[in-house]
Amino acid sequence: MFNLPTPHIGGPELFVLEFGDIVAYFSPYTALLFAFAVLFTVLVIVSRPERQVDIAFGGDAYYTKEVDPDLLRFQRFMAIACGLATLGAMVTGDVFNFTLFASMIGITNIGIVAAYRNRHVLNAAFQYGIVAMLATVPLFGGAAIILSSTGTLSMWELFGGAVAVPLIAKAFLVLGVMGEGMAPFYIAKAEITRAQGAPFILMVHVSSLLLFLRVMEIVISM
Protein backbone atom coordinates (compact mmCIF):
# COMPACT_ATOMS: atom_id res chain seq x y z
CA MET A 1 0.00 0.00 0.00
CA PHE A 2 1.32 3.42 -0.98
CA ASN A 3 -1.63 5.36 0.50
CA LEU A 4 -2.98 7.38 -2.39
CA PRO A 5 -3.20 10.97 -1.04
CA THR A 6 -6.52 11.80 -2.78
CA PRO A 7 -9.13 9.18 -1.76
CA HIS A 8 -11.81 11.92 -1.68
CA ILE A 9 -11.45 12.56 -5.42
CA GLY A 10 -11.21 9.29 -7.35
CA GLY A 11 -11.82 6.94 -4.44
CA PRO A 12 -9.32 4.98 -2.31
CA GLU A 13 -6.33 3.11 -3.72
CA LEU A 14 -7.23 -0.45 -4.77
CA PHE A 15 -4.02 -1.79 -6.29
CA VAL A 16 -0.60 -0.52 -7.36
CA LEU A 17 1.75 -1.77 -10.07
CA GLU A 18 5.41 -0.83 -9.63
CA PHE A 19 7.73 -0.25 -12.57
CA GLY A 20 10.87 0.88 -10.75
CA ASP A 21 10.21 4.40 -9.52
CA ILE A 22 7.05 4.70 -11.64
CA VAL A 23 4.05 3.39 -9.74
CA ALA A 24 0.81 2.93 -11.66
CA TYR A 25 -2.29 2.86 -9.47
CA PHE A 26 -5.87 1.63 -9.61
CA SER A 27 -8.50 3.60 -7.72
CA PRO A 28 -12.24 3.06 -8.41
CA TYR A 29 -11.96 5.94 -10.90
CA THR A 30 -8.86 4.82 -12.81
CA ALA A 31 -10.03 1.18 -12.63
CA LEU A 32 -13.33 2.13 -14.29
CA LEU A 33 -11.53 4.02 -17.06
CA PHE A 34 -9.06 1.14 -17.48
CA ALA A 35 -11.90 -1.41 -17.67
CA PHE A 36 -13.67 0.68 -20.29
CA ALA A 37 -10.48 0.91 -22.37
CA VAL A 38 -9.98 -2.87 -22.09
CA LEU A 39 -13.58 -3.48 -23.16
CA PHE A 40 -13.30 -1.38 -26.29
CA THR A 41 -9.86 -2.74 -27.17
CA VAL A 42 -11.36 -6.24 -27.03
CA LEU A 43 -14.28 -5.04 -29.17
CA VAL A 44 -11.78 -3.69 -31.72
CA ILE A 45 -10.02 -7.07 -31.80
CA VAL A 46 -13.17 -9.16 -32.27
CA SER A 47 -15.28 -6.81 -34.44
CA ARG A 48 -15.52 -6.62 -38.19
CA PRO A 49 -16.38 -3.20 -39.62
CA GLU A 50 -19.87 -2.28 -40.75
CA ARG A 51 -20.69 -1.89 -44.44
CA GLN A 52 -21.89 1.67 -44.86
CA VAL A 53 -25.07 2.22 -46.83
CA ASP A 54 -25.04 5.34 -48.97
CA ILE A 55 -28.13 6.89 -50.50
CA ALA A 56 -27.93 8.23 -54.06
CA PHE A 57 -29.75 11.55 -53.73
CA GLY A 58 -32.52 12.33 -56.21
CA GLY A 59 -33.78 8.75 -56.48
CA ASP A 60 -34.54 5.55 -54.61
CA ALA A 61 -31.13 4.01 -55.19
CA TYR A 62 -28.72 3.09 -52.46
CA TYR A 63 -25.54 1.08 -52.42
CA THR A 64 -23.38 -0.64 -49.85
CA LYS A 65 -19.68 0.19 -49.69
CA GLU A 66 -17.25 -2.72 -49.82
CA VAL A 67 -14.62 -3.24 -47.13
CA ASP A 68 -10.97 -3.29 -48.24
CA PRO A 69 -9.17 -6.09 -46.28
CA ASP A 70 -5.82 -4.24 -46.27
CA LEU A 71 -7.46 -1.11 -44.90
CA LEU A 72 -9.23 -3.23 -42.30
CA ARG A 73 -5.96 -4.77 -41.10
CA PHE A 74 -4.17 -1.42 -40.81
CA GLN A 75 -7.06 0.31 -39.04
CA ARG A 76 -7.37 -2.57 -36.60
CA PHE A 77 -3.63 -2.49 -35.84
CA MET A 78 -3.72 1.26 -35.18
CA ALA A 79 -6.88 0.96 -33.08
CA ILE A 80 -5.31 -1.76 -30.91
CA ALA A 81 -2.17 0.38 -30.49
CA CYS A 82 -4.45 3.28 -29.52
CA GLY A 83 -6.23 1.04 -27.00
CA LEU A 84 -2.91 0.00 -25.43
CA ALA A 85 -1.75 3.63 -25.19
CA THR A 86 -5.08 4.51 -23.56
CA LEU A 87 -4.65 1.70 -21.02
CA GLY A 88 -1.28 3.13 -20.04
CA ALA A 89 -2.58 6.69 -19.76
CA MET A 90 -5.46 5.59 -17.51
CA VAL A 91 -3.35 4.12 -14.70
CA THR A 92 0.08 5.70 -14.90
CA GLY A 93 1.29 7.46 -11.78
CA ASP A 94 3.75 9.73 -13.58
CA VAL A 95 2.93 12.97 -15.40
CA PHE A 96 5.63 12.52 -18.06
CA ASN A 97 4.40 9.01 -18.88
CA PHE A 98 0.89 10.40 -19.10
CA THR A 99 1.97 13.00 -21.66
CA LEU A 100 3.83 10.33 -23.66
CA PHE A 101 0.76 8.11 -23.75
CA ALA A 102 -1.40 11.11 -24.69
CA SER A 103 0.78 11.99 -27.67
CA MET A 104 0.85 8.31 -28.72
CA ILE A 105 -2.94 8.31 -28.65
CA GLY A 106 -2.90 11.38 -30.92
CA ILE A 107 -0.55 9.67 -33.40
CA THR A 108 -2.52 6.42 -33.52
CA ASN A 109 -5.81 8.32 -33.90
CA ILE A 110 -4.45 10.03 -37.00
CA GLY A 111 -3.30 6.63 -38.27
CA ILE A 112 -6.77 5.12 -37.84
CA VAL A 113 -8.36 7.88 -39.87
CA ALA A 114 -5.66 8.56 -42.44
CA ALA A 115 -5.86 4.95 -43.66
CA TYR A 116 -9.20 5.67 -45.31
CA ARG A 117 -8.92 6.87 -48.93
CA ASN A 118 -11.55 9.59 -49.07
CA ARG A 119 -10.75 13.24 -49.77
CA HIS A 120 -12.95 14.62 -46.94
CA VAL A 121 -11.64 12.13 -44.42
CA LEU A 122 -8.02 12.73 -45.41
CA ASN A 123 -8.54 16.49 -45.13
CA ALA A 124 -9.96 16.01 -41.64
CA ALA A 125 -7.04 13.74 -40.72
CA PHE A 126 -4.60 16.37 -41.99
CA GLN A 127 -6.23 19.13 -39.90
CA TYR A 128 -6.40 16.85 -36.89
CA GLY A 129 -2.73 15.99 -37.36
CA ILE A 130 -1.71 19.63 -37.35
CA VAL A 131 -3.75 20.35 -34.19
CA ALA A 132 -2.34 17.25 -32.47
CA MET A 133 1.24 18.24 -33.34
CA LEU A 134 0.71 21.79 -32.08
CA ALA A 135 -0.83 20.44 -28.90
CA THR A 136 2.31 18.54 -27.99
CA VAL A 137 3.92 21.91 -27.12
CA PRO A 138 1.53 22.77 -24.22
CA LEU A 139 1.29 19.08 -23.31
CA PHE A 140 5.00 18.54 -22.74
CA GLY A 141 5.44 22.20 -21.74
CA GLY A 142 2.97 21.61 -18.89
CA ALA A 143 4.97 18.59 -17.71
CA ALA A 144 8.23 20.57 -18.00
CA ILE A 145 6.86 23.44 -15.89
CA ILE A 146 5.69 20.97 -13.24
CA LEU A 147 9.14 19.38 -13.12
CA SER A 148 11.00 22.66 -12.98
CA SER A 149 8.75 24.15 -10.29
CA THR A 150 8.28 21.13 -8.04
CA GLY A 151 11.26 18.90 -8.81
CA THR A 152 9.14 15.83 -9.45
CA LEU A 153 6.72 14.34 -11.97
CA SER A 154 5.43 11.59 -9.70
CA MET A 155 1.71 11.92 -9.08
CA TRP A 156 2.22 10.38 -5.63
CA GLU A 157 4.28 13.44 -4.70
CA LEU A 158 2.24 15.99 -6.61
CA PHE A 159 -1.10 14.83 -5.16
CA GLY A 160 0.23 15.06 -1.59
CA GLY A 161 -0.29 18.78 -1.13
CA ALA A 162 3.30 19.40 0.02
CA VAL A 163 4.17 20.88 -3.37
CA ALA A 164 2.23 23.60 -5.21
CA VAL A 165 1.74 23.03 -8.93
CA PRO A 166 1.46 26.29 -10.94
CA LEU A 167 -1.97 26.92 -12.45
CA ILE A 168 -0.40 27.56 -15.86
CA ALA A 169 1.07 24.03 -15.87
CA LYS A 170 -2.37 22.55 -15.18
CA ALA A 171 -3.91 24.71 -17.91
CA PHE A 172 -1.20 23.59 -20.38
CA LEU A 173 -1.83 19.93 -19.57
CA VAL A 174 -5.57 20.30 -20.20
CA LEU A 175 -4.95 22.30 -23.38
CA GLY A 176 -2.52 19.65 -24.63
CA VAL A 177 -4.98 16.84 -24.02
CA MET A 178 -7.75 18.82 -25.72
CA GLY A 179 -5.49 19.27 -28.72
CA GLU A 180 -4.81 15.54 -28.86
CA GLY A 181 -8.46 14.92 -29.52
CA MET A 182 -11.02 16.61 -27.33
CA ALA A 183 -13.54 19.38 -28.09
CA PRO A 184 -13.40 22.12 -29.43
CA PHE A 185 -11.40 20.33 -32.13
CA TYR A 186 -14.23 17.85 -32.49
CA ILE A 187 -15.42 19.65 -35.56
CA ALA A 188 -12.77 17.78 -37.53
CA LYS A 189 -14.02 14.56 -36.00
CA ALA A 190 -17.48 14.97 -37.49
CA GLU A 191 -15.80 14.59 -40.87
CA ILE A 192 -13.82 11.64 -39.55
CA THR A 193 -17.10 9.86 -38.92
CA ARG A 194 -17.49 9.50 -42.68
CA ALA A 195 -14.72 6.91 -42.57
CA GLN A 196 -15.69 3.27 -42.60
CA GLY A 197 -14.82 0.92 -39.73
CA ALA A 198 -17.06 1.83 -36.81
CA PRO A 199 -15.20 -0.16 -34.11
CA PHE A 200 -11.89 1.48 -35.10
CA ILE A 201 -13.25 4.99 -35.56
CA LEU A 202 -15.01 4.62 -32.21
CA MET A 203 -11.63 4.01 -30.60
CA VAL A 204 -10.71 7.58 -31.59
CA HIS A 205 -13.59 8.87 -29.47
CA VAL A 206 -13.07 6.38 -26.64
CA SER A 207 -9.40 7.28 -26.23
CA SER A 208 -10.06 11.03 -26.37
CA LEU A 209 -12.85 10.95 -23.81
CA LEU A 210 -10.92 8.68 -21.45
CA LEU A 211 -7.85 10.88 -21.77
CA PHE A 212 -9.90 13.96 -20.92
CA LEU A 213 -11.42 12.20 -17.90
CA ARG A 214 -7.97 11.19 -16.66
CA VAL A 215 -6.45 14.64 -17.06
CA MET A 216 -9.37 16.09 -15.10
CA GLU A 217 -8.57 13.76 -12.19
CA ILE A 218 -4.87 14.67 -12.39
CA VAL A 219 -5.49 18.42 -12.52
CA ILE A 220 -8.05 18.42 -9.69
CA SER A 221 -5.80 16.22 -7.53
CA MET A 222 -2.65 18.34 -7.96
Binding site: L32, L43, V46, E50, R51, P184, Y186, P199, I220
Partner: protein, 281 residues
Protein backbone atom coordinates in the same frame (compact mmCIF):
# COMPACT_ATOMS: atom_id res chain seq x y z
CA UNK B 1 -28.84 -4.19 -5.33
CA UNK B 2 -30.76 -6.23 -7.95
CA UNK B 3 -34.12 -5.28 -6.45
CA UNK B 4 -33.10 -1.61 -6.39
CA UNK B 5 -31.99 -1.90 -10.03
CA UNK B 6 -35.43 -3.26 -10.97
CA UNK B 7 -37.12 -0.55 -8.91
CA UNK B 8 -35.03 2.18 -10.61
CA UNK B 9 -35.82 0.75 -14.05
CA UNK B 10 -39.54 0.69 -13.29
CA UNK B 11 -39.54 4.24 -11.92
CA UNK B 12 -37.38 5.47 -14.80
CA UNK B 13 -39.79 4.03 -17.38
CA UNK B 14 -42.73 5.48 -15.45
CA UNK B 15 -40.98 8.87 -15.43
CA UNK B 16 -40.57 8.64 -19.21
CA UNK B 17 -44.31 8.04 -19.47
CA UNK B 18 -45.09 10.98 -17.17
CA UNK B 19 -42.70 13.12 -19.24
CA UNK B 20 -44.65 12.34 -22.42
CA UNK B 21 -47.97 12.90 -20.64
CA UNK B 22 -46.98 16.31 -19.27
CA UNK B 23 -45.64 17.44 -22.66
CA UNK B 24 -48.89 16.34 -24.31
CA UNK B 25 -51.11 18.11 -21.76
CA UNK B 26 -49.12 21.35 -22.00
CA UNK B 27 -49.53 21.16 -25.79
CA UNK B 28 -53.29 20.54 -25.47
CA UNK B 29 -53.18 16.85 -26.49
CA UNK B 30 -54.50 13.94 -24.41
CA UNK B 31 -51.17 12.09 -24.63
CA UNK B 32 -50.42 8.41 -23.96
CA UNK B 33 -51.10 6.78 -20.57
CA UNK B 34 -48.21 7.24 -18.13
CA UNK B 35 -47.36 3.51 -18.19
CA UNK B 36 -46.91 3.63 -21.99
CA UNK B 37 -43.09 3.40 -21.82
CA UNK B 38 -43.30 0.34 -19.56
CA UNK B 39 -45.59 -1.27 -22.15
CA UNK B 40 -43.15 -0.22 -24.89
CA UNK B 41 -40.24 -1.94 -23.14
CA UNK B 42 -42.32 -5.10 -22.64
CA UNK B 43 -43.58 -5.01 -26.23
CA UNK B 44 -40.09 -4.68 -27.68
CA UNK B 45 -38.92 -7.59 -25.50
CA UNK B 46 -41.17 -9.98 -27.42
CA UNK B 47 -40.74 -8.53 -30.92
CA UNK B 48 -38.80 -10.35 -33.60
CA UNK B 49 -35.12 -9.41 -33.32
CA UNK B 50 -32.20 -9.61 -35.68
CA UNK B 51 -29.01 -7.76 -36.57
CA UNK B 52 -28.90 -5.73 -39.81
CA UNK B 53 -26.82 -7.38 -42.53
CA UNK B 54 -24.59 -4.33 -42.91
CA UNK B 55 -23.87 -3.93 -39.17
CA UNK B 56 -20.65 -4.53 -37.28
CA UNK B 57 -22.23 -7.35 -35.28
CA UNK B 58 -20.05 -7.40 -32.14
CA UNK B 59 -20.25 -3.63 -31.73
CA UNK B 60 -23.97 -3.50 -32.55
CA UNK B 61 -24.78 -5.94 -29.74
CA UNK B 62 -21.95 -5.02 -27.36
CA UNK B 63 -22.92 -1.37 -27.16
CA UNK B 64 -26.36 -2.28 -25.78
CA UNK B 65 -24.78 -4.19 -22.90
CA UNK B 66 -22.34 -1.34 -22.32
CA UNK B 67 -25.30 1.08 -22.02
CA UNK B 68 -26.97 -1.06 -19.34
CA UNK B 69 -23.67 -1.71 -17.55
CA UNK B 70 -22.59 1.93 -17.23
CA UNK B 71 -25.93 3.18 -15.88
CA UNK B 72 -26.22 0.23 -13.49
CA UNK B 73 -22.72 1.18 -12.33
CA UNK B 74 -23.78 4.81 -11.96
CA UNK B 75 -26.69 3.76 -9.75
CA UNK B 76 -24.30 1.68 -7.65
CA UNK B 77 -22.00 4.70 -7.26
CA UNK B 78 -24.90 6.86 -6.04
CA UNK B 79 -26.11 4.24 -3.58
CA UNK B 80 -22.67 3.63 -2.13
CA UNK B 81 -21.80 7.34 -1.89
CA UNK B 82 -18.90 7.10 -4.39
CA UNK B 83 -17.18 9.93 -6.24
CA UNK B 84 -19.12 12.31 -8.49
CA UNK B 85 -16.06 12.30 -10.72
CA UNK B 86 -17.02 8.68 -11.48
CA UNK B 87 -20.54 9.85 -12.25
CA UNK B 88 -19.11 12.47 -14.60
CA UNK B 89 -17.00 9.77 -16.26
CA UNK B 90 -20.05 7.58 -16.81
CA UNK B 91 -21.99 10.49 -18.24
CA UNK B 92 -19.17 11.12 -20.74
CA UNK B 93 -18.92 7.41 -21.54
CA UNK B 94 -22.60 7.49 -22.46
CA UNK B 95 -21.41 9.60 -25.41
CA UNK B 96 -19.50 6.56 -26.62
CA UNK B 97 -22.71 4.55 -26.43
CA UNK B 98 -24.44 7.14 -28.61
CA UNK B 99 -21.54 7.11 -31.10
CA UNK B 100 -21.22 3.35 -31.15
CA UNK B 101 -24.92 2.79 -31.59
CA UNK B 102 -25.01 5.16 -34.55
CA UNK B 103 -21.82 4.06 -36.28
CA UNK B 104 -22.18 0.29 -35.88
CA UNK B 105 -25.15 -0.23 -38.20
CA UNK B 106 -24.00 1.16 -41.56
CA UNK B 107 -27.30 3.03 -41.91
CA UNK B 108 -27.03 6.69 -42.99
CA UNK B 109 -29.74 7.72 -40.49
CA UNK B 110 -27.94 6.28 -37.49
CA UNK B 111 -24.69 7.71 -38.81
CA UNK B 112 -26.24 11.20 -38.90
CA UNK B 113 -27.38 10.65 -35.30
CA UNK B 114 -23.82 9.69 -34.35
CA UNK B 115 -22.37 12.76 -36.09
CA UNK B 116 -24.85 15.00 -34.28
CA UNK B 117 -23.80 13.35 -31.04
CA UNK B 118 -20.16 14.17 -31.88
CA UNK B 119 -20.80 17.83 -32.62
CA UNK B 120 -22.87 18.33 -29.46
CA UNK B 121 -19.98 17.33 -27.21
CA UNK B 122 -20.27 20.71 -25.46
CA UNK B 123 -23.37 19.39 -23.66
CA UNK B 124 -21.11 17.37 -21.33
CA UNK B 125 -18.97 20.26 -20.16
CA UNK B 126 -21.54 21.89 -17.79
CA UNK B 127 -21.34 18.73 -15.66
CA UNK B 128 -17.60 19.28 -15.31
CA UNK B 129 -18.35 22.83 -14.12
CA UNK B 130 -20.74 21.33 -11.57
CA UNK B 131 -18.04 18.96 -10.36
CA UNK B 132 -15.45 21.74 -9.99
CA UNK B 133 -17.89 24.12 -8.26
CA UNK B 134 -18.90 21.45 -5.76
CA UNK B 135 -15.25 20.74 -5.03
CA UNK B 136 -14.70 24.43 -4.28
CA UNK B 137 -17.46 24.38 -1.64
CA UNK B 138 -17.10 20.95 -0.08
CA UNK B 139 -13.41 20.14 -0.67
CA UNK B 140 -14.44 16.63 -1.66
CA UNK B 141 -15.98 14.79 -4.60
CA UNK B 142 -17.29 11.90 -2.53
CA UNK B 143 -21.10 11.87 -2.55
CA UNK B 144 -21.14 10.64 1.05
CA UNK B 145 -19.02 13.64 2.12
CA UNK B 146 -21.07 16.06 -0.01
CA UNK B 147 -24.32 14.95 1.66
CA UNK B 148 -22.62 15.21 5.06
CA UNK B 149 -21.54 18.77 4.16
CA UNK B 150 -25.14 19.64 3.30
CA UNK B 151 -26.40 18.29 6.62
CA UNK B 152 -24.05 20.73 8.36
CA UNK B 153 -24.29 23.76 6.02
CA UNK B 154 -27.61 23.49 4.20
CA UNK B 155 -28.36 22.54 0.56
CA UNK B 156 -25.81 23.32 -2.14
CA UNK B 157 -28.76 24.39 -4.31
CA UNK B 158 -28.66 27.76 -2.57
CA UNK B 159 -24.93 28.46 -2.28
CA UNK B 160 -23.95 26.90 -5.61
CA UNK B 161 -27.04 27.84 -7.62
CA UNK B 162 -25.23 28.31 -10.99
CA UNK B 163 -23.74 24.82 -10.62
CA UNK B 164 -27.27 23.48 -10.07
CA UNK B 165 -28.40 25.29 -13.21
CA UNK B 166 -25.49 23.66 -15.09
CA UNK B 167 -26.57 20.21 -13.97
CA UNK B 168 -30.20 21.00 -14.78
CA UNK B 169 -29.06 21.83 -18.31
CA UNK B 170 -27.13 18.57 -18.49
CA UNK B 171 -30.27 16.60 -17.59
CA UNK B 172 -32.31 18.66 -20.06
CA UNK B 173 -29.78 17.83 -22.81
CA UNK B 174 -30.47 14.14 -22.30
CA UNK B 175 -34.29 14.30 -22.08
CA UNK B 176 -36.41 12.87 -24.88
CA UNK B 177 -38.30 15.42 -27.01
CA UNK B 178 -36.21 18.27 -25.58
CA UNK B 179 -34.69 21.29 -27.33
CA UNK B 180 -31.31 19.53 -27.52
CA UNK B 181 -32.55 16.06 -28.60
CA UNK B 182 -31.05 16.44 -32.06
CA UNK B 183 -29.54 12.96 -32.15
CA UNK B 184 -32.99 11.33 -32.22
CA UNK B 185 -34.77 13.95 -34.33
CA UNK B 186 -37.56 12.71 -36.55
CA UNK B 187 -36.00 14.05 -39.76
CA UNK B 188 -33.41 11.30 -39.35
CA UNK B 189 -36.08 8.69 -38.40
CA UNK B 190 -35.05 7.81 -34.82
CA UNK B 191 -31.47 8.98 -35.22
CA UNK B 192 -28.83 6.70 -33.74
CA UNK B 193 -31.47 4.29 -32.37
CA UNK B 194 -33.14 3.68 -35.75
CA UNK B 195 -31.68 0.22 -36.41
CA UNK B 196 -31.84 -1.10 -32.85
CA UNK B 197 -35.22 -2.77 -32.61
CA UNK B 198 -36.80 -5.74 -30.80
CA UNK B 199 -34.89 -6.92 -27.76
CA UNK B 200 -32.06 -4.45 -28.45
CA UNK B 201 -34.51 -1.54 -28.23
CA UNK B 202 -36.08 -2.98 -25.06
CA UNK B 203 -32.62 -3.17 -23.47
CA UNK B 204 -31.89 0.40 -24.55
CA UNK B 205 -35.20 1.55 -23.06
CA UNK B 206 -34.11 -0.05 -19.78
CA UNK B 207 -30.69 1.64 -19.95
CA UNK B 208 -32.25 5.03 -20.72
CA UNK B 209 -34.74 4.60 -17.88
CA UNK B 210 -31.84 3.94 -15.53
CA UNK B 211 -30.07 6.99 -16.93
CA UNK B 212 -33.07 9.25 -16.23
CA UNK B 213 -33.42 7.84 -12.72
CA UNK B 214 -29.71 8.25 -11.97
CA UNK B 215 -29.50 11.83 -13.27
CA UNK B 216 -32.58 13.00 -11.36
CA UNK B 217 -31.49 11.16 -8.21
CA UNK B 218 -27.98 12.60 -8.50
CA UNK B 219 -29.39 16.13 -8.75
CA UNK B 220 -31.44 15.69 -5.56
CA UNK B 221 -28.57 14.01 -3.72
CA UNK B 222 -25.89 16.53 -4.74
CA UNK B 223 -27.87 19.76 -4.45
CA UNK B 224 -30.49 19.05 -1.77
CA UNK B 225 -29.06 16.18 0.25
CA UNK B 226 -29.81 12.67 1.45
CA UNK B 227 -33.55 12.43 2.18
CA UNK B 228 -36.01 9.58 2.82
CA UNK B 229 -36.76 7.63 -0.37
CA UNK B 230 -40.37 8.82 -0.67
CA UNK B 231 -39.34 12.47 -0.40
CA UNK B 232 -36.48 11.94 -2.86
CA UNK B 233 -38.92 10.42 -5.36
CA UNK B 234 -41.33 13.36 -4.99
CA UNK B 235 -38.51 15.86 -5.58
CA UNK B 236 -37.31 13.85 -8.60
CA UNK B 237 -40.85 13.92 -9.97
CA UNK B 238 -41.12 17.69 -9.50
CA UNK B 239 -37.78 18.15 -11.23
CA UNK B 240 -38.95 15.92 -14.08
CA UNK B 241 -42.19 17.87 -14.50
CA UNK B 242 -40.26 21.15 -14.70
CA UNK B 243 -38.07 19.60 -17.40
CA UNK B 244 -41.17 18.37 -19.24
CA UNK B 245 -42.54 21.93 -19.25
CA UNK B 246 -39.33 23.21 -20.82
CA UNK B 247 -39.44 20.43 -23.43
CA UNK B 248 -43.12 21.11 -24.16
CA UNK B 249 -42.74 24.83 -24.85
CA UNK B 250 -39.36 24.77 -26.61
CA UNK B 251 -38.98 23.65 -30.22
CA UNK B 252 -36.12 21.34 -31.09
CA UNK B 253 -33.15 23.47 -32.05
CA UNK B 254 -31.08 22.99 -35.18
CA UNK B 255 -27.77 21.17 -34.60
CA UNK B 256 -25.71 24.36 -34.98
CA UNK B 257 -28.00 26.35 -32.63
CA UNK B 258 -27.73 23.52 -30.12
CA UNK B 259 -23.95 23.66 -30.17
CA UNK B 260 -23.95 27.47 -30.00
CA UNK B 261 -26.26 27.62 -26.97
CA UNK B 262 -24.47 24.82 -25.13
CA UNK B 263 -21.10 26.47 -25.80
CA UNK B 264 -22.34 29.87 -24.60
CA UNK B 265 -23.74 28.35 -21.40
CA UNK B 266 -20.50 26.46 -20.83
CA UNK B 267 -18.53 29.71 -21.36
CA UNK B 268 -20.72 31.55 -18.83
CA UNK B 269 -20.21 28.75 -16.31
CA UNK B 270 -16.44 28.77 -16.80
CA UNK B 271 -16.52 32.50 -15.94
CA UNK B 272 -18.51 31.57 -12.80
CA UNK B 273 -15.82 29.06 -11.85
CA UNK B 274 -13.04 31.62 -12.37
CA UNK B 275 -14.92 34.14 -10.19
CA UNK B 276 -15.46 31.41 -7.60
CA UNK B 277 -11.75 30.56 -7.66
CA UNK B 278 -10.78 34.21 -7.15
CA UNK B 279 -13.36 34.84 -4.39
CA UNK B 280 -12.67 31.61 -2.49
CA UNK B 281 -8.92 31.81 -2.97
Amino acid sequence: MIEYLLFATFIGLLFHGIHRKVIARVQGRPGPPIWQEILHALKFSFKETWIPKTASRALFVGIVFVAIAIWSGALFILLTGGSILLLFAIYLLHKIVEHGMGLSTGSPYTKFGAIRSVISAASELPLLVTVVAIYFFTGSLSIAEITAYQEMNGPLLIVAFPAAVAMYLVILSKMHYGPFSIIEAKEIVSGNMTEHFGVWRAALEVAYALKTYVLLYAFVLIFIGALPLWLTLILMLLLLISLSFVCAVTPMLSPYDTVTIQSLVTGALVIYIVILAVVMG
